[in-house]
Amino acid sequence: MSISVRNINKRFGSFQALNDVSLDIPSGELVALLGPSGSGKTTLLRVIAGLESPLPGGSILFQDEEVKERSAHDRQVGFVFQHYALFHHMSVFENVAFGLRVQPRGIRPSRKEISDRVRSLLALVQLEAFANHYPRQLSGGQRQRIALARALAVEPTVLLLDEPFGALDAKVRIELRRWLRRLHDEIHITSVFVTHDQEEALEVSDRVVVMNHGRVEQVGTPEEVYNHPANPFVYHFLGAVNHFAARVENGRAFVAGAELPAPEFAGRAAAAAVGYVRPHEIEIIRQSGEGAAIPALVRMTNGAGPMARIDLERIEDGEAIEVVLSRERFEELELRAGETVYLVPRRLRLFADDAQSLAQPATV
């Protein structure tokens, strides 16, 4: 079932949590709402679930059906809470059965059916053996899976997860998010999860919605948002990035002592701009190429791990810059701390200060 959010606003006191948000989530996809804290991602999720009521105006459609006026218990959404919100006084079995047991008598399944459905859900989340345990006897990862099974028990039309892995330690988090991806590939229910962890969003989801200050900044596949960020915020938020104060003028960019081609600004008057380049999109060379490279001083190198990391300092302004090289290239270069090298951005993305969104990616 697809979800459409149209012009939704939400305020907490004077704080604008959602600012005219519109979003389309295609049926069957696993979508990540990604953003820093306070960006409105959790509020958006709760508004979709009916746990929070937005300001008048706008609409929320589940497969073309308006649900904005429906209260949470009529929306048939599965919601998984960050801290699981399992019922402490109920066993695992009773937790999962809850949504079925509170259904009106007419449509409530029989005891046998409830029992069967709970058992099969517990099998799905691989916790059959824990039916009679209480939440406090489970680990964090197990609780999260129970919370998921409980949400799935009512056969929700959409599944919403609020920071589903946020409260888990690093190792369990990675295991569980891969497991969630596989589970989604099995059951194909439209799912939205909130996260502030870009790695998590990029690895798990079909589509990433980047949010900031109550607005949607960019929507796209993980590749799109990572490789083609729509604006400086997305660039900053997704992955490590070096940024430069720059000046653009008529198809040329002047960055940290280098002059680089910037065809997207062809024919434009001089303007201040900001340039972004990811650490792995920089080549290090020993010879200056007629001003087309940025001179920098090697501060420190770290060759541990699959990629080598080099910390440098721009000679022009002393700003730090980070470069990631393949192991082979790193060994080939034999960099030493204190030597001067030249940096050639393979992909520099420029945003002019006056009209950031007009700029298109430049490939050098």
Binding site: F12, L51, S53
Partner: protein, 293 residues
């Protein structure tokens, strides 16, 4: 931490549908009405009636009723009793809190339960046990009489019964706090070379002072207001063994309602002052649960 708790009323009211964990306005109004009605009957009205009845005969009569020699004697005895019982129980409470709150030892929870005992005992029985011990036919009665000492139907009995009744208050306030704060700060002070007293005054005391103050206030309110236990051991000798609450009873039973309520209003103001101080203490120490989370 959660918006439903802290959001002002108007925010939730203009929302088109109720948020999942909030109740509809009608339910809210009904429950607030029930709660306030219930508290009105059992807390507000009794308080009002005391003040209204006390001043029914005018301020002059009121002042007269609270300044008769008997009333003054009762006030004096009440103050003396509190002045003995409260400090002793405070010292006890601190000692108990230090040993129970800062150390792990066997029988700790049994000791805690024993300290709670007076809470569970009827005030009348609290008085009775002292009568059985020190009364004429009591355990130590003959010995006391041969030394011409009187405990029961005298001031010492009243003080003892009051000490029994107010026994747990300070300990009960301070122990959980000392327990919760653990021993790290004290151990750090110890490692830095502080002596036992220095640790207590400079490290522990600042952490527990508000709870201690609250315990002392409650203990004091109860010491000045205790009725049942004191009634049993006092003998109701006017001018000698009458405390303020007992004086209220005597006046009331003599149908001298104005005077009874006059004296009662003194005790009621003591209760109000205690509550105000308690609220202030909570406010200062930020103990309110809402803010803790």
């Amino acid at each position: 931490m959660n918006t439903t708790l802290n959001a002002p009323l108007d925010l939730t009211n203009d929302a088109p549908i109720a948020t999942a964990a909030t109740d509809p306005p009608a339910v809210r109004r009904l429950l607030i009405g029930l709660a306030l009605g219930f508290l009105g009957i059992f807390i507000f009205l009794p308080l009002m009636v005391v003040l209204v009845e006390a001043f029914r005969g005018g301020v002059g009569l009121y002042l007269k009723s609270i300044s008769t020699p008997d009333a003054r004697a009762a006030l004096r005895l009440t103050l003396i009793t509190a002045a003995i019982a409260v400090p002793l129980n405070t010292i006890f409470g601190l000692a108990a809190a230090w040993s129970i709150g800062k150390f792990e030892f066997r029988g700790r929870s049994l000791l805690l339960s024993l300290i709670d005992l007076p809470f569970a005992i009827s005030p009348v029985i609290s008085g009775l046990i002292y009568v059985l011990m020190f009364g004429l036919q009591g355990w130590m009665g003959p010995w006391l009489r041969s030394h011409d000492l009187q405990v029961i139907f005298a001031v010492p009995g009243i003080v003892l019964a009051t000490m029994f009744v107010t026994f747990p208050f300070v300990a009960r306030e301070v122990i959980p706090l000392m327990e919760a704060q653990g021993t790290e700060e004290e151990e750090a002070a110890r490692v830095l070379g502080a002596s036992g007293w220095q640790i207590f005054w400079r490290v522990t005391m600042p952490n527990i002072r508000w709870a201690l103050l609250y315990g002392v206030l409650l203990s004091n309110a109860r010491a000045m207001g205790e009725f049942g236990a004191v009634s049993v051991v006092s003998g109701h000798i006017r001018g000698l063994t009458n405390t303020l609450p007992l004086h209220v009873e005597i006046l009331y039973n003599e149908y001298n309602f104005a005077a009874a309520f006059g004296v009662a209003s003194l005790l009621a103001s003591l209760a109000l002052v205690t509550l105000a101080a308690k609220t202030a203490v909570e406010w200062v120490s930020g103990r309110s649960h809402n803010r803790l989370h």
